[in-house]
């Protein structure tokens, strides 16, 4: 049970990373991996929409905020391992690569795929976040109280 949820948590992490990373980065790193697994396509890349929900007052009842474009795909490796990809935007090859990476991460190739593709994506995402957080921090207001000259 713990094993499964650990595996689920790891899978959730790489799927989320693949979904949020720029398609160009995923494509470049995938090409550099030079892995050419044989696979069949279970679900051809498909572009669709997902309705995004917010909460009234940030914590209350859910409401429909608007949609987002998403592309999904599923593949099956020759050894039967199935991979799914869900990525933001309209990127068919992005979704297909995400599905292949998801499948490979469940095989013996996981180490190589993680080191060559997921680790650089993680680093790039962390760098983007750190950069924006640092710029935001520089705009934080330091209040000081002026001495009033009444007395």
């Amino acid at each position: 049970m713990t094993m499964t949820s650990d595996q689920d948590a790891a899978r959730k992490a790489w799927l989320g990373l693949l979904a949020k990373s720029p398609a160009a980065d995923v494509a470049r790193l995938w090409a550099a991996l030079q892995i050419d697994p044989s696979y069949s396509v279970l679900r051809a890349p498909e572009i669709g929409g997902v309705m995004l929900r917010g909460r009234a007052g940030a914590v209350g009842a859910a409401f429909n905020l608007g949609e987002m474009t998403v592309t999904r795909a599923s593949v099956k490796l020759a050894d039967g391992v199935v991979g799914h990809g869900y990525v933001q935007g309209r990127g068919k090859s992005h979704a297909l690569t995400a599905a292949l990476v998801d499948a490979l991460m469940q095989t013996g190739a996981a180490g190589a795929v993680d080191a060559g593709l997921l680790a650089p994506l993680r680093a790039a995402m962390a760098a983007r976040k750190a950069d924006r957080a640092a710029k935001a921090a520089a705009t934080k207001v330091d209040f000081f109280t002026m001495v009033r000259g009444e007395d």
Binding site: D8, R11, K12, L15, G16, A19, K20, E46, I47, G48, G49, V50, M51, L52, R53, G54, R55, A56, G57, A58, V59, G60, A61, A62, F63, N64, L65, G66, E67, M68, T69, V70, R72, S74, H84, Y86, V87, Q88, G89, R90, K129, A130, D131, R132, A133, A134, K135, A136, A137, A138, T139, K140, V141, F143
Partner: protein
């Protein structure tokens, strides 16, 4: 009455060819790329995404280019595209408390935990034209600070802890969706928020302003305005758990408004809420004020007959695509309708002429 007429195909084709040429403008000037619009006209892109009700910066930028910068036309293009997409599902409600805030200000508490973060704001600029931009003024280096990585809790949660602010009620698991079922009144708050989130910024701004000027005044303070990136999570049936499927930028505004109390409950502040795609604080604040005004019935307030309190008036007129569709259709051929009007007025005038001399003689 509508009667099909044929003809005009050649004129239409030629008009569209000319439109394409006008869109391109002077060929001596470099053509604008979609990526340039996406990166450098970001707030226009945000508005098209918000009112087009589809988060996709590339598509919004393309729509702006195609529409020659007419944002309502661009929103129309996005709305039309949106209808062609199969719906994969709905996300889990977005947790704006986990937002990576790029801007976060409070007008109610100076020393809020997490601090006042200005972000890339137009506030405090002098609104003087910057002629450096007309030359090639490249932006300089941006100063960087040291992020604290402290959590940035919602300011409303502090008031909530003291019981000073009304609770937000839980709602249905599946909120109503006006893109699936035509808008019907009375609308619950979830439906109103959906409608306001995609409503025309100018219209919502005008209504919000009217409440400030006294038409159903609701004494709003901006408890918090936050802008930043949030992850979007969705349950994936084939996986059996939820994954993040993307990251979007949102603007959220929470207002704290004047009190409500009763014989059995002590007075509490009330709330208004605005949430919008992209960076759009004008729209988010406006939405929060109008949301609050529309809650009069639920909060036991008087109907003052103000436009911003009138759900039917607000919700049926805030959609700029519906509005522009109906408004602009009157320029299309109405030859037969008008022919009957012409005949009627000629008849009335004929009768009037026959009657006037007779009456004058009497």
């Amino acid at each position: 009455m509508y009667v099909a007429v044929k003809g005009g195909e050649r004129a239409i084709d030629n008009a569209h060819a000319w439109l394409a040429e006008e869109r391109r403008g002077d060929r001596a000037v470099l053509e604008l790329s979609v990526a340039q619009i996406r990166e450098q006209m970001t707030l226009a892109v945000n508005r098209v995404m918000a009112e087009g009700s589809l988060y996709d910066p590339d598509l919004a930028a393309l729509a702006i280019k195609q529409a020659r910068g007419d944002l309502i036309e661009a929103i129309f293009l996005i709305r039309a595209y949106r209808t062609t997409l199969p719906r994969f599902g709905a996300s889990n409600p977005i947790e704006t408390g986990d937002m990576l805030c790029e801007r976060r200000v409070s007008a109610t508490f100076k020393d809020a935990p997490g601090g006042q973060v200005l972000g890339p704001t137009f506030d405090y600029t002098h609104r003087l034209l910057d002629f450096k931009l007309a030359a090639d003024g490249e932006a300089g280096d941006v100063p960087k600070g040291t992020p604290t990585h402290d959590p940035t809790p919602h300011i409303m949660s502090f008031l909530d802890r003291e019981g000073l602010i009304q609770d937000e009620r839980a709602g249905e698991n599946t909120p109503p969706d006006l893109t699936r079922t035509p808008l019907e009144l009375p609308a619950d708050r979830a439906l109103r928020l959906q409608s306001l989130a995609r409503g025309d910024e100018g219209f919502i701004l005008g209504l919000a302003y009217s409440t400030q000027r006294g038409y159903a005044r609701n004494h709003a303070f901006v408890a918090e305005l936050r802008i930043g990136a949030v992850a979007v999570e969705m349950e994936i049936p084939e996986l059996g758990f939820a994954i993040e499927i993307g990251e979007i930028t949102l603007t959220e505004c929470e207002t704290v408004n004047q009190f409500q109390g009763s014989k059995t409950a002590p007075p509490q502040f009330t709330r208004g809420y605005g949430l919008v795609f992209g960076m759009s604080e004008r729209k988010a604040i406006s939405m929060a004020l109008v949301d609050r005004a529309l809650r009069w019935k639920e909060l036991g307030e008087d109907n003052l007959g103000a436009p911003a309190q009138d759900e039917e008036f607000v919700l049926y007129h805030s959609d700029n695509i519906q509005a522009t569709g109906f408004l602009e259709h009157i320029k299309l051929p109405h030859y037969v309708d008008f022919q009957s009007e012409l005949e009627l007025i000629r008849k009335l005038r004929r009768e009037a002429k026959e009657n006037i001399p007779r009456e004058a003689a009497e």
